[in-house]
Amino acid sequence: MRETTIVSLMTRARLVQIMAALERNGATPIPSRSLHSFAFFANVLSPIWDLTPLDGSVLKEKSGPFYPALQREIDYLIGRSVLTVVSLKSMGHGEASFIEPSLRLSKANAQPVLEVVDALPDEQMTARFLDQLAAAFVEITPDERTDAATLDAAYSDPAVASGRIVDFAEWVEPTFGNPAWSTAQAFQQYMPSNMVLNRAEKLAMYMRLIKKRAANG
């Protein structure tokens, strides 16, 4: 039997919160690769909200971020009917082929989980952060959502080669060691002196930048 660790429980809970935020913002059904992309943004941008990311690093790949541990929890939640597979699509060719499910949250089965998670004080803040992020993420065209993460400041750092590790919070400072955080903070420089950006605004501006980059290819 697969061992349930504290890490897998946390990932599972975060996944339900993410899917709930995406549901609320009309971003479901969501293809699993786009879900990984969103999870990446949730990790890399959480230091803006003083939240600890679930994963502080990810393997850099041309196709975008992919978290094997998150994928295991997606499968588990499908098996428990918390997530529903709306459709299956065969993607890629040959050895690189895979089946991509499009997912949505099963509200009835997810509600008890969400009630428990939302009752925890720090998770309420997480839920608000994910809502803001989902609202910004949904602005990106569905076709561009999967690739959007590859345009993130940390992920696209030219100093990190493909096949190496994008570390934004594991062995480096989640703030100054994280280019996405630094970029989001830099927006303040362009504001009038009497205007101080709050974290939600920084997050929205950062995602708008990503959207712009995605749209420009």
Binding site: L59, F66, D75, G79, S81, E95, I99, A159, G163
Partner: protein, 623 residues
């Protein structure tokens, strides 16, 4: 953009090593586009000819080895009688080369007896002959688009010429930094070099003074102890100082151990992430085959259930409860084969067709499943190695912390014991302290100067790093294209900035650098090769040659030459053919480039393949 030399012509006169034939005295070679081979047995002067080409350009100097050398000169003298020693009489011998840099050709003539410049001029300014070596050096740097002559010599030594001494580039990250500094930051190259010298010089002076200070303190302590009557405090002070010295030594060793453990930890983390991804890829590929096999059996089942059943069959785990599900997977397989409903096992009300899996798909499924199992094993090994590396790192950190804690305690103990010495001793101590304090201030001053230089260099290094990163994709692409054709194994050039200090102490900076990842012949994972001794001799040499070709291609849009001595030396039969292709592709396919090779007469495909595109005018200058 930098401009690399393209050798057009060499003429050697009155040099006994190349007497000529019949009426044609001396040696003349016109190097047009394509590969050129100097072919012959040992001792005929092939390598000497390539060295003449090099020293015609640079004169009687060689570059100092790479690294932060402080204010020492970047150039070392090269024996100006080197070519004179090879023959009995070289008094009248001269060598002339015509070397093109972009649209300008530089004509250079030197005496071979002492490498003195006798004539030089540019094709766009043939009226004005270059009179002195200093003027010549300025012209050369200018034509190459570099900051100074020193950078020109470095670039020629590490990129254009790959001669007998086999100076390495891909395996030497310090040399890479100097090359990128020269090629990509000519406007700040001199300032970078000066600040680097300041940092090394201030750091070194501070350390030397510190060593003098340390000796002074030790001498003072032992003097007091020797001249005074032995007391228990003095005896304990001697012991405490000895312990402190030993602990400081241990701290240095522990720091080195931690650095090595950290590097291993980083590498193992990459391995685990890649192994996890490889398992996931193998799993998805297997699921894909399963999906094809099962798609008929799945007819009429909702996507959600399809996905769950697929997971049970592929993973052999129940996604709902996490238990092993071999029995359920077996049952599902049986139902599929009998064309029964996968969910309840009853007969399907279908058109009666039994869909059988084709042999191809079945075999593909088996292959992919075997691959999946292999990947899972590799992941297990990678995780074990990572955990071992983490443990080693943790122990190294603990050890360093422990040694530092003990060092602090020992320092406190020494101070405490000094304070307990009799007053007369303390008065003597106070006088010594004044001198010691003065020296300490000097150390601080030099450290402050080093820090100021470090602040200035930081921004410049960032600029250089960004400039390198802007070119890295193209460089990696050019490298991969060439290397793929040469090596059977998967080889990647990977940008990986190196962290290092300029002085022995002080701030850590990031320097642009590339390293090599290769698939080992014994295993399937990619392993990072940081040092030349991690690969075979032929891999070492040819990775360097391919790297140089890629640099030439990336950083110059004009013609250039690559000069290689003994390219056949480390090759076996298989690689000899590929080496022929490699040099041919560089010399032939680029619009105006050539490779000049000196090699022994060898069997196999190297020479015929190399000259394959030029058979009609086989350009062999037989030595």
């Amino acid at each position: 953009m930098a401009c690399f030399p393209y050798f057009e012509k060499i003429v050697i006169a009155d040099y006994q090593l190349y007497p000529g034939k019949g009426d044609e005295l001396g040696l003349q070679a016109h190097f047009s586009k394509g590969p050129w081979i100097l072919l012959g047995v040992n001792g005929l002067g092939k390598s000497t000819l390539l060295l003449i080409l090099k020293h015609l350009l640079v004169g009687a100097v060689s570059p100092r080895g790479p690294g932060f050398t402080g204010s020492r000169s970047d150039l070392l003298p090269f024996d100006n009688r080197f070519f004179a020693h090879r023959v009995n009489d070289s008094s009248k011998a001269t060598a002339t080369a015509s070397v093109r840099f972009g649209s300008v050709t530089l004509h250079i003539t030197r005496q071979l007896k002492d490498l003195r410049l006798t004539d030089a001029y540019r094709s766009d300014d043939s009226e004005n002959h270059i009179a002195t070596e200093d003027q010549y050096r300025e012209v050369l740097a200018n034509l190459m688009g570099l900051a100074n002559f020193e950078d020109s010599v470095r670039v020629l030594d590490r990129i254009t010429f790959f001669l007998e001494n086999r100076t390495s580039l891909i395996w030497d990250v310090s040399a890479q930094f100097e090359i990128f500094r020269a090629l990509l930051a000519p406007t700040i190259s001199e300032e970078l070099r000066k600040l680097e010298a300041d940092i090394v010089s201030n750091d070194s002076t501070a350390r030397n003074l510190n060593a003098a200070l340390y000796k002074l303190v030790s001498k003072r302590d032992s003097e007091i102890i020797r001249t005074k009557t032995s007391t228990e405090t003095q005896a304990r002070l001697v012991q405490a100082i000895a312990l402190l010295e030993s602990l400081e030594q241990q701290e240095l060793t522990a720091q080195t151990e931690l650095t090595s453990a950290d590097e291993e930890r980083l590498d193992r983390r990459i391995e685990v992430k890649r192994a996890e991804r490889a398992v996931e890829d193998a799993l998805q590929a297997y699921q894909q085959t399963k999906f094809q096999v099962l798609r008929h059996a799945f007819s009429g089942i909702e996507a959600n259930e399809q996905y769950v059943l697929l997971k049970i069959i592929a993973d052999r785990l129940c996604p709902a409860c996490g238990n092993e599900a071999d029995g359920a997977a077996h049952t599902l397989e049986e139902r599929r084969k009998k064309n029964l409903c996968l969910v309840c096992g009853s007969e399907k009300h279908s058109d009666g067709k039994v869909v059988s899996t084709t042999g191809v798909l079945q075999s593909q499924a088996e292959d992919r499943f075997n691959k999946l199992e292999g990947r899972q094993k590799e992941l297990g090994t990678a995780v074990e190695r990572f955990n071992a590396a983490l443990e080693r790192h943790r122990k190294s950190e603990d050890k360093l912390d422990e040694v530092r804690r003990k060092t602090d305690e020992a320092q406190k103990e020494v101070r405490r014991l000094r304070a307990k010495l009799p007053t007369s001793d303390q008065n003597a101590l106070a006088r010594e302290e004044t001198r010691i304090e003065g020296l300490r201030r000097e150390v601080q001053n030099f450290r402050r100067d080093r820090e100021l230089a470090e602040q200035k260099i930081e921004g410049l290094l960032k600029r250089l790093k960004r400039a390198t990163e802007n070119h890295r994709t193209e460089l990696e692409k050019n490298f991969h294209r060439r290397v793929r054709a040469f090596f059977g194994q998967e080889v990647r050039l990977v940008y990986s900035a190196r962290k290092d200090r300029i002085g022995q102490g002080g701030k850590v900076f990031e320097f642009p650098a590339f390293e090599v990842e290769m698939t080992s012949g014994a295993t399937s994972g990619n392993f990072i090769r940081r040092t030349a001794d991690q690969v075979s001799l032929s891999q070492r040499e040819y990775l360097d040659i391919v790297f140089r070709m890629s640099l030439l291609e990336t950083f110059s849009d004009r013609g250039c030459s690559l000069v290689v001595d003994g390219p056949e030396g480390s090759l076996d039969a298989l690689f000899a053919d590929r080496a022929g292709e490699l040099f041919d592709s560089f010399g032939h396919r680029r619009t105006t480039s050539n490779v000049i090779l000196a090699c022994n007469v060898v069997e196999g495909g190297f020479i015929p393949i190399l000259c394959g595109h030029f058979r009609h005018l086989l350009n062999a200058v037989s030595a």
